[in-house]
Amino acid sequence: MADKVSNRDIFFNPFSKDNPVIVQVLGICSCLAVTAKLEPALVMGISVIAVLAFSNVIISLIRNTIPTNIRIIVQLVVVAALVIIVNQLLLAYAYDVSKQLSVFIGLIITNCILMGRLEAFAMGNKPWPAFLDGVGNGIGYTVILVIVGFFRELLGSGSLLGYKVIPQSWYDAGYADNGLMILPPMALLVVACIIWVHRSYNKELQEK
């Protein structure tokens, strides 16, 4: 990056103006898969923040030693190692959540956000900005996951984080959970609605 970007912007831009999910449209696949309930969405988000921040720092630290012709392989090895460690930690300390997330933790390796940030940012910046960039993008991703998870669990299961929030009297009066919300296509539609709302507030993001 030639032009000087402040650390503050590096950290806060991915929240909204440069959000990885709704502006860069990366990491959509896991967004569909883990957002049927709020809890796995949160854990997935935290896992991605951790993996992204640490892999950014590690790649940034060794960026001057990496032979260019194998740099993607080196990035993959670092990410894969971190993902396996996160998975092992979840198996040991959050077994139920790890069962729900199952393969999707492993698939963080192929999450486009990670490779995108490593290649575009960590390879050319110092460790501290790289760390901020990783955490910022991770949070940007998590925020969208949580919003999608919130609506899908609320409308699909009538609960939040596993606690029933829709009172029984509503069900008695004929209200029914929307089973469609639990299926993956609705995640895409919810993301689309978020993008719609987001762009109508941020005119500069609208394509001509």
Binding site: T65, T68, N69, I70, V77, A81, I85, L91, A92, Y95
Partner: protein, 236 residues
């Protein structure tokens, strides 16, 4: 200055990296292994207890398991007890792939304060996308189903994954394994259809046909080798 584009540099770089990463991963796996096995065992105990309609919390599951599962045994297809085998350690998914005669068949014997002795049999099979498994508990007559529990690795949510829900599993309660002296494990049929034969049946899940068939096949495949053992129970 080292030439970073040379082959030698690249090879040394990748070798060193792989050794470091390998060591880090091995260390993580080793240091967390006990905790992980503990979790996996606790989860298995929870599933076993669920087949006799006991819902437990993670914090109390080990105690509850010790309290209700009074003994375990391993039998062979002739109904004889296999000495020295640990029922809990047997991998049912591996056993289910062997010919019936060679299988080690675990049985968990559960004593409930208000419902008497139950025999819990583990099951393992295939659904649409991956493995499915479960536990079915029988009354001490060896034929009446007391409860059933099913779980899966990756069946479609809302369709095949519904096999875990009480709406499906509760259908098994009270069904019979033996009909007029014949051993006919319960089958799963499409809603509104009847099975070919005289066996008891439950309704499959609409939209989850392959998973439902998988459950039916799993019941057949895993329960048939227990025939001799269950017959000996019903004679007692």
């Amino acid at each position: 200055m080292i030439n970073k584009q040379s082959n030698a540099y690249t090879i040394i770089y990748i070798t060193v990296m792989v050794i470091i990463v390998g060591a880090a991963l091995a260390f993580t796996a080793m240091s967390l292994k006990d905790k992980q096995t503990e979790n996996a065992d606790a989860d298995k105990m929870r599933q076993i207890l669920q087949s006799v309609h006991l819902t437990t919390e993670r914090s109390t599951v080990v105690e509850d398991y010790k309290k209700y599962i009074t003994s375990t045994c391993v039998v062979n297809s002739l109904g004889e007890t296999v000495e020295g085998a640990d029922a809990f350690a047997i991998n049912v998914a591996v056993e289910a792939k062997k010919p019936a005669g060679e299988r080690m068949l675990p049985v968990y014997i559960c004593t409930l304060p208000d419902a008497g002795t139950k025999y819990i049999i583990p099951l393992a099979g295939m659904g649409l996308w991956g493995p499915i498994w479960g536990y079915v508990s029988l009354d001490s007559d060896g034929t009446t189903v007391y409860g059933a529990f099913f779980d899966h690795q990756g069946e479609t949510p809302g369709l095949g994954a519904e096999i875990t829900k009480p709406a499906f599993t509760d259908q098994f309660n009270g069904k019979q394994m033996f009909k007029n002296g014949m051993f006919l494990p319960i089958t799963v049929v499409k809603k509104g259809q009847l099975p070919q034969g005289d066996m008891d049946y439950v309704d499959g899940i609409s939209g989850g046909t392959i998973t439902s068939k998988g459950v039916g096949a799993m019941l057949d495949e895993c329960l048939l080798p227990y025939k001799a053992y269950l017959e000996s129970l019903s004679k007692q």
